[in-house]
């Protein structure tokens, strides 16, 4: 938090988050449609992938369903998620790359910046002085 005092950029970013815009963005990305299957969102897609993978695992080893559900699910989850969603990636969609693409999209960044600028002006209007 101390950095927030020192660094105006950080302060701005925090401001942005406080407004809820951050979460908004996040959910937007997640619910964005996936390239291959237009109907499903990223979120759903990931869900389906995870479920199918888990099913496969159970088919391989039937005893999984009889073990402690919490710990087995945690183990499987860990396996799926590590190495940057390696197992969840399919030929159609590389989750990792996809996300990064979205994030690094310059248009996205520009939109962000625009919003930030607007926020800053708003706050400066409110506060009366620009923290420089």
């Amino acid at each position: 938090m101390t950095t927030g005092d020192k660094d105006p950029a950080v302060k701005l970013a925090n401001d942005f988050k406080k407004r809820g815009s951050f979460d908004e963005e996040k959910s937007r990305i997640l619910s964005g449609p996936v390239d291959c299957a237009e109907q499903t969102t990223l979120e759903e897609y990931v869900r389906n992938r995870a479920a199918s993978l888990a099913n496969d695992m159970v088919k391989e080893d039937e005893s999984l369903i009889f073990k402690n559900r919490g710990s087995t699910s945690a183990l499987i989850e860990g396996q799926l998620v590590k190495n940057g969603f390696e197992k969840l990636n399919t030929d159609n969609l590389q989750i990792d790359a996809y996300l990064r693409k979205i994030l690094e999209d310059p248009a996205f960044k520009d939109s962000l910046k625009a919003r930030l600028r607007a926020n800053m002006e708003k706050s400066s209007d409110e506060n009366g002085d620009v923290p420089m």
């Binding site: 950029a9 995870a50 930030l116 800053m120």
Partner: protein
Amino acid sequence: MDHYRHGHDMPYGRPASRYQNDSTAHTNGKPQNGRSHWRDRPSSSYNRHKDLFKGETYYPRGSRLAQTPVVAPNRTRRPAPDLRYNTTRFHEQYHYFDPVARRLIHQNVMRPWTSEKLPSSGYVIVQEPQSAGKPKPVLKARTPDQAATDPRSAALNNHTVKGHTHRKARTQLSRLPRIVYDKHSIGPPPANEIVVYPMVRDSHISVPDAIIKNYFSTFGEISHFESFIDPSNALPLHVYVIRFTGPPGNLDAPFKAAHKAAKTFENAHYFVSGFKFAVVINTDNQSKKIIDSIVEENAKQAVKIQKQVERRNDNKELPTGPQAKALPPDLERIVQGRPSLFVSKKVISVHGLAIEDFKIKLAKYKFSRIIGHSSGFYVVFNDISDAKACMYVESDVLSINSRRRRKPVVIRFTLIEANLPSLAAGQREARQSHKKEYASIEDIVNAAADIIIQDLGWALERDLKRRIVGPTVFDALSPQNYPEIIARKEEDEKKKLELRRIAAETKQKRESKSSTFDIFNLYGARFKTKGLLGKGFIRDAKTPKESVSVSEKADVELVKPMAHLLNEDSRSNTPPAFETQLDDDDMMSSSVEAEDGLQDEEDNQDDFSDGFEPPYKKTKHESSEATTPEADVQKFVSNSSRREELIKTSEKYRPTASERPTPIYPVDLFESQGILSAVDIRDAVKDEEDFVILRKMMNPPAHAISGEQKFKLGVLLHELNLASQENKKVLALQNSTNEMAFDDSLRSPAGSFKAEGFKKISDRLKNCYLPHRRKLHQPLNTVYNHQDAAETNSDTHRLESEKPELENHPSEITSSRVNRAMNRRFQQDIEAQKAIIGSESELLTLNQLTKRKKPVTFARSAIHNWGLYALEPIAAKEMIIEYVGEMLRQPVAEMRERTYLKCGIGSSYLFRVDESTVIDATKKGGIARFINHCCEPSCTAKIIRVDGRKRIVIYALRDIAANEELTYDYKFERETDDEERLPCHCGAPSCKGYLN
């Protein structure tokens, strides 16, 4: 010169006359009247000395003194001798001198010794060393005219002669013994003090003074004991001066003590408590010197250490000064800002050092971990003070043996300060400007946007993982999603349950069969298995139907446990159906004469083969997959032509679906039923087929028999029938009482068994007629109280079911719980009594083991003579009774064993406690001696210690029912001589047949 000696010579030829009265003969000793008789003769130079009397001095002739008046008047003679043998009686005894006549006699016969061979002047025999080496006696002539010389003086004068002295050259001076100092001694007293000082300068010496003082006081009384300390640091030097003293009467005591003490440790050092001391006499105030030297040494040591410390303090600055070692970034996470000591890679790689070396050497310091990195080793501490402490002490001091250079190498540490990540960031910032200066708002916005994007990335990842993937996986694992798997599992479970149920049922059924002989189920059941295994049929004591079902069920059950005994009869194999058919054929034909299924099969083979298959398949796989029965059924059902066939055959002959192939008619075991009568054969023919076979066998004449013959035949048959029925009844009775039929060898041909004389009946046969020998699925209610001596042991009494006598002794039936409580109370009473009496009384000591005894009693046994039976059920692992008897040593036991064998006591009641002790209950002992041997025992013996003494105690191996005989494994040693082996009648299925 004595008169007894004659100086030089005795004159030759002159007889000696000893007697002074003898004027004719020379007096040889004591001259008469003070004058020698030789004075009478003219004295030559030889005789001059003889002329002197005793007390007279010789003066040469020419001297004046000879004429002195002193000499002249005093001429005393010796007193006259007392002659004893001068009587005439002794005349013939005289050899050469006649004392009476005073003259020499036999002169003519006596010859002087002189001869030509011998030197005339006399001779001497001398041992002279010959050339050979050994000294030989040599005759040497005397030379009386030559004056003798002293050979020693010759040697003395002749110094060039190398004297062969026989003394060895001494290597050291021989010690003079200590001269005792007493009141007559002159000079200063010897030392009475000793100094004891350490040989090795070891700072860890910690010998209490008292020990040294006590030890040296054994040499003598100590008057003064002083220990010295280092004046500079007040530490003890372990140098002691001990002064001895002694009782006032004994002046020498202290000196002796000191001397002894010093002497004891002259060559060896005084070794006490691991430290060596030297002990010396304190001469010339040596102690002071020693002390001074030690003090000097100490001082030097101190100076050295001082220098070291200073040096180390100086070294302190070095590490932090020039090289500000920073932690490599990838280790930052592990180290997490804690202080650490760094050892450069160069040192490590050159000398091949390992982390373990450091771990060992720095074990005293509380390091958290040692990380190995490409740049070197980092010793991480949790606390900066720990790091610094380790640093100051060990850097440049710690030396580890180099692996490559075979030399210890000194390690230098560099301290890396603690760095908290936030602090680090803060420091970084602090070094930069305090405020972030941006060129423009644009930059701020840019920066903010970057931050946001970064955060978004992380947030998305987190979200995916936790919110999306996690729950889906969790839900996916729910069993509801996999109905097929669940269903399959449930099926498996069901099958297992089913199997278990069947097993339980069959077990129950079998148990119910022998419910009447409940307690002996254990024996009885085993007996049934024994009969069953080989053939798969039961003895036909039961009704046919029962037997079939029992055989079915029993086979299923019992084949399994005992299969290991019969390797050939393994039902788990799956031979093709044909083979199993043949097996069955063999089995049936071997036990039955010309019977049922065999020939039938040849005709109705198809039917039977089909009929047999499903049952066979069932025996093959008890837990077969669901698929195979279906397949069979399908095969079976779909064949319509066969169905027609089946319908054609009569009910009786239709194939039945049962576990094993069963014959249509019940099994008829002819051989076991004793004598076979024609009636039996007649009854054996059960259907047309049998009759045909019979006809073939008998080959009866073709013509029919006449009516008369028929009548006769009928009568005969009737009688036969009756006879066989009687027989059967008898047999049945015998079997019911004795379990085996009466053996014919016991039946006397003449009619009277007694008339035949005495013969030994084997134990096997004894079962036939002795009730108590009966085997074991009969209730052996022979348990009763021997204390009622008036009771006669009649058979009827024995066969009666219960023990009426027990009512007379109600206390014995009480349960063991109550018993234990009573025993405890009893024990407490005894303790109270003991306390009152105060002293130990032997009468009040309890054999504790008697209190733990279970109610058991002895009675006739089927195994051997007498046995021990439990009166109430006993749980497993409970103590039953103690084996009490005479305690003997090993040799005594051996002797007794031989004695008993000679006396004819065939049973052995000797029980080994340990290698050297044996308990003998042959003549004296407890009832535990009645426990018989069984190859499958119900009890075991253990040796426990009670009050330090070993006792033999019998424990139950398994649950024992009431009225069951207690058995245990005698563990006799295997006898090599086969005739010495004792047969075992325990009746267990795994009976070895012999006791030893």
